[in-house]
Symmetry: C2
Subunit: 187 residues, 2 copies
DNA sequence: ACCTCCACGGCACGTGGTGTCATCAACTAC
DNA sequence: GTAGTTGATGACACCACGTGCCGTGGAGGT
């Protein structure tokens, strides 16, 4: 028999989300999370660099998928089209996580610290996309703006997807947001 | 003779920036800042809600100026034009603060915590602009995208302004960024 | 002469986050 | 099967952030 129960990280995430949802983020202590997962505070910080990070487990996969799609985009595509190539695999990734995303969004929306973390994750994503665009020979200026615009479209569409009921609507909402952005910037 | 030296807040800000620049943000303690300003830790937290906030003194004025300009924009202006109306008074505000902005940008760039705070300030600004646009009768969707786009243009132009040498170039850099954004989204 | 105000000091406390060492099942080597 | 090694976790001490609470004493009014 093994010395410890398996999947310590998963247990911590599950315990954290449950407690954040029940009592709120600030009212929940790291020690309480660790305790609920049958672990200690010290172990929590071995898996997550800080208390917020336990809610941002999926951000690595998001960035990974997005960058893969960017790398696979046609060579003759426009900067914005390349940046937006990430939207397809990302939409696919979210289709099955609608209930979880809602729960998590409720927690994040209720706490400024978590919103800050969410924003810097998005900025890191934009920076990575920008670097990929520059690698493709796109100018620095166009790369920044295309990457930032792509992430903005994602951000807006994500917010809409969370607050409506159709889990499969993500891709459509992204297209709509992009179209609205074009119409706004055209004037 | 008065019991305390005047301008406690200003002394705290000055001491903080000096110490952050010399030793780095994380290596500087709130107690050290307060001590350098001839005050105590407790008093620091009466002026600033947390350690980061001492670097974000100007954000209130920035938002105020921007929103004033939005309110004063012509009734028939497009959503994006209204959102961008804030760029003029804001550019004017920054002309005289180029050296300070550089010093501050160096500190912020060296620390993720501070970048998070900067991002949420920008998001709050975008949210305020969005609300102002909605008040003017602009649709929710267009308001979000116009506000977010306006802030993105500001953000990009600000970064360029800090890294180049002409303190008066802000307005021009904003126009260039906007033009590049139009060209990126048009394709 | 008295009173009220209020900016600040002082102190205790909870929590986040880290460095360091101990523990002990599982795995490896022979 | 015995010995050594590895690696996830516990245990503990510690520091800095941030807050609640009360004390203090000059400024300014009556």
């Amino acid at each position: 028999m093994s010395r410890w129960k398996p999947d310590a990280e998963g247990r911590l995430i599950k315990a954290a989300i449950t407690l954040f949802d029940e009592r709120g983020y600030e009212q929940t202590t790291v020690a309480q999370i660790a305790d609920a997962a049958g672990l200690t505070k010290r172990t929590f910080f071995r898996y997550f660099s800080d208390k917020r990070e336990v809610l941002f487990n999926g951000s690595g996969e998001l960035e990974h998928r997005w960058l893969e799609a960017v790398a696979a985009a046609p060579v003759d595509a426009s900067p914005l089209a390349v940046a937006l190539a990430g939207l397809d695999p990302v939409a696919e990734m979210f289709d099955e996580r609608h209930p979880f995303a809602r729960l998590r969004a409720g927690i994040v929306d209720a706490n400024p610290e978590l919103q800050e973390r969410e924003l810097i994750k998005l900025q890191n994503l934009a920076a990575a996309i920008k670097a990929a665009l520059i690698d493709r020979g796109i100018s620095r200026n166009a790369a920044i703006l295309a990457a930032q615009t792509g992430v903005t479209v994602f951000q807006v569409a994500f917010a809409r997807w969370v607050e409506q009921d159709d889990p499969a609507a993500f891709r459509r909402l992204m297209d709509e947001s992009l179209e609205e952005l074009r119409s706004v910037t055209a004037t």
